[in-house]
């Protein structure tokens, strides 16, 4: 884990160490289906995906959100992550390389602790924002 600065040293606009993932593969979608319990055929079967007018299998949105979880948990301990989530704004397909970034959007205080609101984004190499989200973390 990279060193997390103290709350006082963190400024709005600071960026988290970025995370670029290996290209999403069909094998990964199968592994994620098994690991997550999400066996929706649109992630596994091209014919079923095309039958509902998708371009072919698409990645689970939650796989891409898990990349954002990795981004945040690489910066702060898991026990300091208060919330995380986002909107699925574009599809990720096999072969896509997803880059995850985070920017400190606000410094707040709640429940007796210092907190950071972080804007988090997962973007494909084509420049499409696949997940647009936010995380809140506690920082000492």
């Amino acid at each position: 884990m990279s060193a997390l600065p103290a709350f006082a040293a963190i400024q709005v606009g600071d960026r988290l160490p970025p995370l670029t993932k290996a290209a999403v593969s069909r094998v990964q979608l199968a592994l994620y289906a098994g690991a997550s319990g999400d066996h929706n055929p649109i992630h596994l079967d091209d014919e079923r995906a095309k039958a509902v007018k998708l371009p072919g299998v698409i990645a689970h949105g939650m796989l891409t959100m898990a990349f954002l979880g990795q981004l945040v948990a690489s910066w702060v301990p898991l026990t300091q992550v208060r919330s995380l989530g986002g909107r699925f704004a574009a599809m990720v397909r096999p072969g896509d390389v997803v880059a995850c970034t985070g920017t400190v959007a606000a410094k707040t205080s709640a429940a007796g602790e210092n907190r950071l609101t972080i804007d988090i984004t997962a973007e494909t190499a084509a420049g499409e924002k696949a997940v647009i989200g936010q995380a809140v973390v506690a920082v000492r």
Partner: protein, 146 residues
């Protein structure tokens, strides 16, 4: 059109056991090499009680317990016509290998856009751990492409 009388429906409580191997399998699948998800000694040295679950792992309790597709089936929705619209996690106690999570899912809202071409189902699942602490509250939006 989806039957809006399902808004407010709460499903029977389910139990999900957080298996250590499942956390490793999940970390492998998402390509997260952090050894805290694989090795109890490393996790303890990093300050965790034992192997912790990655941030979005709580959603495995939802999917593995059929808490998303079961409400969809009841509503007559073909899962291949759905997309995940949004997902939000609000965390309480950290989730660890060995935890026995108890959950409850509720249909929070059902609405449509574009004259019914797109319908939205908002689902919320609350997870409590074996000591009665709130572990996570999850709110998701499923988009139905009609």
């Amino acid at each position: 059109m989806l039957d809006k009388s399902y808004i407010g429906k709460t499903y029977p409580r389910f139990v999900f056991e957080v298996e250590k191997g499942r956390i490793r399998q999940f970390a492998d699948a998402i390509g997260d090499p952090d050894p805290i998800y694989r090795d109890v000694a490393v996790a303890r040295a990093a300050g965790y009680r034992t192997v912790p679950a990655p941030p979005t792992f709580a959603f495995v309790a939802v999917m593995d317990s059929d808490q998303m597709f079961m409400p969809l089936r009841e509503l007559g929705v073909d899962m291949t016509r759905t997309l995940h619209g949004e997902q939000w996690f609000d965390y309480g106690a950290p989730i660890y290998a060995g935890d026995l999570l108890s959950g409850e899912t509720r249909i929070v809202d059902i609405y449509d856009k574009k004259g019914g071409a797109l319908e939205f189902i908002v689902l919320e699942t609350a997870l409590t751990n074996q000591t009665g602490e709130r572990a996570a509250t999850m709110r998701g939006i499923v988009v139905v492409r009609n």
